[in-house]
């Protein structure tokens, strides 16, 4: 006898958990299916948790969520081969609770999130893969899992099945994702004693630092690196567009090895013991790559819907917000006794358009293309900036005016006067 639920959520990442939690709290009979051994076992993220999105779902999450360190310092580095120029923002204000950003270890965090989902009343079943959607005409009426007797029915299905979005693709809701729309990120976790991390980064207990990196570490590809401090470990990684990896035939691990050997990065992880190695795709196609996210009896949330703001390294918060918004849309319709038709579920997209999710993606819609076509931002400029800093700071008997002239000459020689103006305009358009 096939089971019937009010709603099925596919996937137990941040989007799926936010959706299942919200639906269960709203009183619906919810089934959440996860293919991994336990919630979080397949999930990969840097990871930084932005409190705001989670707070809107679970207000008291700080009571028992496994959080590593709250961030009090943000560094941005533009790297050349041997040097970097950078900025640092550190503020005592970040030390005032409630804290705004935390480093987390996703395997622990996702387990906690899932336990809250189960407490809310959703039935969570792991190690079960949804192979396809059950359709009645165009309407999604349930899912078919890989287990014997695996057809399960529901009034509405929320697809939070991650970046590859296999189910929606199989059902023909959208074509295969393009390699120019996804980044491939690799990361490592290096174990270091708590005291070492705290002295090395000049932080106290529970305080954390983020370093965002761009420049020659991406070897001309469109991408950035990162380093986060956890309680007893350091996470570092780098991600670049998959299409660039394909073009350059660079391997992700070689990229990461080179980055780890950089003279500014090597001492930070010195003596660490590698604990974990992970790689994942990140949907960074931006606004124009967002697929249809609703239809007859279905909604898409999280990575599956391309909801990532690559420029600002935001993803899990968009995932939680879209998951919650999808669930609220369902709850509203259920309360009003209305069917989950495409026409009614269109409200989901309207809500996202009105929220930071779509507004931010729209603001940076041109960024992916501009950075993709202008690799000078990842190669020439970091080099020029670092050389300029070096020339200015070195004391060698040359007068400052001559030094300034030399710096100017270098810039013009590499990019020409019109090139510089053009690049400035492109940068403005990317961030406008």
């Amino acid at each position: 006898m096939a089971e019937k639920f009010d709603a099925i959520v596919v996937g137990a990442g941040p989007a799926g958990n936010a959706a299942a939690y919200t639906l269960a709290k709203g009183g619906l009979k919810v089934l959440q299916l996860e293919r991994g051994e336990y919630p979080g076992s397949k999930n990969v993220q840097g990871a930084i948790l932005y409190s705001d999105a989670l707070e809107r779902i679970i207000a008291n999450f700080r009571d028992d969520a496994p959080l590593e360190r709250h961030l009090i310092e943000q560094r941005v580095w533009i790297l050349d081969d041997e040097s970097y120029v950078g900025t640092t923002y550190r503020s005592a204000q970040f030390n005032q609770p409630p804290y705004n950003r935390y480093t987390i270890i996703r395997a622990h965090f996702d387990k906690w999130f899932s336990s809250r989902v189960q407490q809310a009343g959703a039935l969570v079943i792991c190690e079960t893969t949804v192979n396809e959607l059950l359709l009645d005409g165009k309407r999604v009426v349930g899912v078919r899992t890989d287990r014997q007797g695996g057809d399960i029915y529901a009034d509405v299905v929320i697809l939070a099945d991650g970046v590859n979005s296999l189910l929606a693709r199989k059902a023909g809701f959208h074509p295969e994702i393009k390699s120019k729309d996804v980044a491939l990120a690799v990361k490592e976790i290096h174990f270091l004693p708590q005291e070492t991390i705290e002295s090395r980064f000049n932080i106290g207990e529970d305080e954390g630092v983020v370093i965002e990196m761009a420049g020659k570490i991406s070897q001309g590809m469109m991408g950035t690196g990162f380093l986060y401090t956890n309680k007893e470990s350091i996470t570092l990684g780098i991600g670049c567009m998959l299409s660039d990896f394909k073009c350059q035939r660079t391997t992700p691990y070689a990229l990461l090895e080179k980055m780890k050997a950089h003279p500014a990065i090597r001492p930070l992880i010195e003596g660490g013991e590698m604990k974990e190695y992970a790689a994942h795709l990140i949907p960074e196609g931006g606004y124009d790559a967002v697929p249809p996210i609703y239809g007859e009896g279905w909604l898409i949330a999280g990575d599956a819907g391309m909801f990532v703001n690559g420029l600002h390294r935001e993803g899990s918060n968009l995932a939680m917000t879209t998951g919650q918004t999808a669930a609220r849309t369902v709850l509203d319709l259920a309360a009003a006794g209305k069917p989950f038709s495409a026409k009614n579920l269109a409200r989901y997209r309207e809500r996202l358009d009105d929220s930071f999710v779509m507004k931010d993606l729209k603001k940076y819609r041109r960024a992916p293309e501009i950075f993709h076509d202008n690799s000078q931002f990842f190669t020439t400029y970091p080099e020029l900036l670092n050389r300029a800093a070096h020339t200015l700071i070195r004391v060698d008997g040359v007068d400052k005016k001559t030094k300034e002239r030399e710096i100017r000459r270098n810039f013009v020689a590499r990019r020409s006067a019109w090139g510089l103006i053009g690049d400035a305009f492109k940068m403005w358009r990317a961030f406008e």
Partner: protein
């Protein structure tokens, strides 16, 4: 046919790490799994059920978190699950554990006679292989350890015939039911449970038995009090200073290689050289 399968929730030893500074075992974040050897026991019990019908009851003694292991066993197709959990059981060694489990099985068979008790051949965290035999002794069951195959179960004659791995070969043994079987690894492959079993496992209200429910009147028989084993010291072995070494010669001729290898051996172990020289004379 009623089988009782004793399982244990253990830390996944493949993922246990030793703290580089304090040399203590880091349990935090290490996933808890069903002792892998127990899965062969559970699958064997499920196969008997497939063939002869009946019931598979899974038992574990452990803290409340061990519930996860029992749910997993249910999702594979076990019918009943009992968590034997009481603060009085904490700190048990193999003696106290087999005492508690034997008493639990005595209670179980009050409701339904038990034909076979299954355990894995040993656990991956204790590695003693003592609890199964301990239960058999206490319940006066025929004991079949390291069983690789069940050849025949004759209900009428109340007999079972099994293959058992022994030193230097395979023994075929016949004995009377009820018996206790400790199952060898690699003898079967755990099934992929049905969707219905997944739902049943996720929704099941687990039975939790405390000391008295498990039929143990005397608390000094279980837990730390009932455990004569004392852990004197825990330490991480020092990594060996010697490492494998590649020895190369210019010619790659077997003779040259052998000479180089022997020279190396003799410099490190002069005694071998002396001994060989003595015998050569």
């Amino acid at each position: 046919m009623h089988s009782v399968v004793c399982i244990k929730q253990v830390p996944d030893s493949a993922q246990i790490r030793v703290h580089p500074v304090t040399n203590t075992i880091m349990r935090q974040g290490v996933p808890a799994i069903i002792n892998p050897y127990d899965l062969f026991a559970l699958e064997q019990a499920l196969r008997l059920k497939d063939r002869f019908g009946g019931t598979v009851t899974v038992v574990t003694m452990g803290p409340p978190q061990a519930e996860v292991a029992l749910r997993k066993a249910l999702s594979f197709g076990a019918d009943e699950a009992i968590l034997v959990s009481d603060r009085a059981f904490a700190g048990a060694d193999t003696l106290a554990t087999s005492c508690a489990l034997a008493s639990t099985i005595r209670q179980i068979r009050k409701n339904m006679p038990v034909d076979i008790v299954f355990t894995g051949k040993q656990t991956i965290d204790g590695d003693t292989a003592q609890v199964g035999p301990g239960i058999a002794r206490r319940l006066d069951l025929q004991l079949l350890t390291y069983v690789s195959r069940i050849l025949e179960v004759d209900h009428g004659a109340r007999q079972i015939r099994v293959e058992r791995r022994a030193e230097g070969g395979v023994q075929v043994l016949r004995t009377a039911l009820p018996c206790l079987i400790t199952m060898l690894e690699g003898t079967n492959e755990m099934r992929f449970g049905t969707m219905a079993d997944m739902f049943r496992a996720a929704r099941a209200e687990l039975k939790v038995w405390d000391r008295l429910a498990a039929g143990i009147e005397d608390p000094s028989l279980v837990g730390l009090k009932g455990s004569p084993t004392v852990v004197g010291k825990v330490f991480a072995p020092k990594p060996r200073a010697l490492r494998a070494e590649m020895i190369e010669t210019a010619t790659q001729e077997p003779k040259d290689l052998a000479v180089t290898l022997l020279a190396k051996l003799f410099t490190q172990h002069p005694r071998i050289e002396r001994e060989l020289a003595r015998r050569a004379v």
